[in-house]
């Protein structure tokens, strides 16, 4: 473990920017909204910013990306095909633990199962991740209930914790250790480890005040969702509040459904685009010939929460599908973000 003075911490980002495309939380000057964007200079990044509105999954799984371009000359019967993967080296600086957990979940889903998704693999292969421990919770956070915060345990190269005047720098990989050595960071002592533990404990106690409603219920609800002991009426109630806008799935750090479309261009070539899709859309399961096996909206809502909370889905992620960032709660116009769904199911269990 190492230490770095607060006013020097951005030097890490500056150094990373030399060999990686740098991404980090940026506060929009006019709206004060936070985005996790590619930056041209390390000075744009704010380590004190709230969690970004859109999760950093956009870096590894962009909303729209071209995966293939091809040109079919119908007269000459000739196909020219060229895969188009983004294999640039990227550094994520100041990612929050919940969002890192989101990426870990996506790693296991895209790369850990029978088939490996090459497009994702190329994004992910040459990545440097610097996490930022949350020493204070933000308005809708409940990561303490989903085991994904407020400090990161795995998956980072470097982990920063604000200890007042200094940042504690923990290393989570050989790449991270080599980088810390190269930067000539000074070693930390046991007192700093204790200081970090105290800071995290304090943060957890602040979280607990925010998340009391749902704490301990997530696991009960997971059990109910898995075993199917939830009355149809509860899903219908939840379904009736759904606007089918898809916002919850777009801001979710672990939602990864995608669509693939061939987009013809004026010059005669075609782009195969991979875009985000959402299980809340009616056309999501519609087949050619208009047969749709999953029709009512409550079926589709049910599906999303099954994906986040069921045990069988957790087996793919090796943890719950929800990382407790609370974004679905911010954006949902129908007030059925995941914490509220947990509350509805809790009421059904207790009443």
């Amino acid at each position: 473990m190492y230490l770095i003075e607060k006013n020097n911490v951005m030097k890490l980002a500056e150094e990373l920017a030399k060999s990686y495309s740098l991404y980090g939380p940026v506060v929009d000057k006019d709206t004060k909204q936070v985005f996790f964007n590619k930056v041209s200079s390390a000075s744009e990044i704010s380590l004190t910013a709230e969690i970004p509105s859109i999760p950093p999954k956009t870096v590894v799984f962009p909303q729209i990306e071209r995966i293939l371009k091809y040109n079919y000359d119908k007269d000459a019967k000739k196909v020219e095909m060229e895969p188009d993967f983004d294999s640039s080296s990227k550094a994520l600086f100041g990612i929050r633990p919940c969002d890192l957990t989101g990426i870990v979940v996506l790693d296991r889903f895209f790369m850990g199962l029978e088939f490996v998704d090459e497009v994702y693999l190329e994004h992910r292969k040459r990545m440097f991740i610097v996490t930022n421990t949350c020493t204070v919770p933000f308005k809708q956070c409940f990561c303490v209930c989903t085991d994904s915060g407020p400090s990161a345990d795995e998956g980072y190269d470097l982990n920063l914790t604000d200890l007042g005047d200094v940042y504690l720098v923990e290393t989570g990989s050989d790449k991270g250790r080599a980088f810390a050595e190269k930067m000539g960071l000074k070693a930390s002592g046991p007192e700093h480890t204790l200081e970090k533990k105290n800071a995290v404990d304090k943060s957890i106690s602040l979280f607990e005040k925010l998340a009391t409603d749902n704490k301990a219920w997530i696991s009960r609800v997971m059990n109910r969702v898995t075993t199917g002991f939830i009355k149809e009426e509860v899903w219908e109630h939840i379904g009736k509040q759904c606007f089918e806008c898809g916002a919850c799935t777009f801001v979710c750090p672990t939602c990864s459904c995608f669509n693939i479309e061939d987009h013809n261009k004026f010059n005669g070539s075609t782009d195969r685009l991979r875009t985000w899709d959402s299980c809340s859309f009616e056309g999501y399961t519609k087949m050619a010939g208009d047969h749709n096996p999953r029709h009512p909206v409550e079926d589709r809502r049910n599906k999303r929460f099954f994906c986040k909370l069921s045990y069988s889905q957790s087996k793919k992620y090796l943890r719950p599908g929800c990382v407790g960032c609370g974004r679905c709660q911010w954006v949902c116009p129908g007030d059925i973000g995941l914490p509220n769904v947990v509350t509805y199911i809790r009421r059904e269990i207790t009443e």
Partner: protein
């Protein structure tokens, strides 16, 4: 794991349409050959699997595989039903398509050896079953009775009529056909396909049934087979879903806790019952 993981799956292999054959109204069969000889030689399928077919300029669709895994020409039989399949039907010999796959678990073969096999197909439900039928007939001596029960709307909607004539030459192959509406000259049965179950005196002991067809047919056929005493794990079907990737990532084909592309498309009725929202 490393030999299980197949890496290059996002990029289609280019294949040439060698021959196009009209089957029935709106259904054509496309005989294909991969342009890369190495791919062509190594393309091995299992009955019941499917491929992702790209029609260049239009998109990609999941299409079931009718050829037998042994000594059969690579072909796809496709009904014109949407954007991609409409475009496919306009292709002629010499045109190029893209193929990814094969994907999916496939029908059991080794496990059903020594048993009586019943195929129940409605309309183009015969397409995915063809692969297994041909495979089983190629190994005729390993099986008991082989019965195909076939239903179609009209005599003109009967798939693979030439194939059926060939199969009937094989000893012990039984085929019963019925149509919903008879047309002039039709001397066979009329009625729904489940009426054939009685007529064929379908065995129950040591028997496996493969069922594929439209949802209405599926439910009534399964009901009749079960009431004759066939067990739910001896009834096998193949499901179709909207699919985008074929490799378990896009999640469009999720049913319950399974994905049709990687856990299916072949399921036993025992599994189907537990999944919900299937048909």
């Amino acid at each position: 794991m490393s030999d299980v993981q197949k890496k290059v799956i996002t990029i289609p292999e280019i294949a040439t349409v060698v021959e196009v054959k009209d089957e029935i109204q709106d259904v054509k069969t496309f005989y294909l050959k991969f342009d890369n000889p190495e791919v062509d030689a190594n393309f091995k399928i299992k009955s019941g699997q499917f491929v992702m077919l790209t029609v260049f300029g239009y998109g990609e669709s999941a299409i079931s595989l009718p050829p037998s895994p042994e000594n059969d020409r690579f072909h796809l039989s496709v009904r014109k039903v949407g954007k991609v399949t409409d475009a496919l039907h306009n292709l002629v010999a010499g045109d190029k398509v893209g193929i990814r796959g094969p994907f999916g678990n496939g029908f059991p073969f080794e496990e059903i050896k020594g048993k009586n096999i019943i195929y129940v197909a409605g309309g183009i439900g015969l397409i995915p079953l063809r692969s297994s039928i041909v495979h089983v007939l190629q190994n005729r001596k390993d099986f008991g009775r082989i019965i195909v029960l076939l239903g179609a709307r009209t005599p003109k909607d009967l798939m693979y009529q030439n194939d059926i004539e060939e199969w009937l030459k094989i000893e012990g192959f039984e085929c019963y056909v019925t149509v919903d509406q008879k047309t002039e000259g039709w001397k066979g049965e009329t009625g729904f396909v489940n009426s054939l179950i009685e007529k064929a005196n379908v065995p129950v002991e040591n028997t496996v049934a493969f069922v594929c067809g439209p949802p209405v047919m599926f439910n009534s056929v399964i009901g009749d087979l079960m009431s004759r005493g066939l067990k739910d794990d001896c009834i096998i079907s193949t499901l179709e879903r909207h699919m985008k990737c074929g490799i378990g990532k896009c999640q469009h084909c999720a049913i319950g806790r399974t994905l049709v592309c990687t856990d299916g498309p072949v399921y036993t009725y025992k599994q189907i019952k537990t999944l919900g929202e299937v048909i």
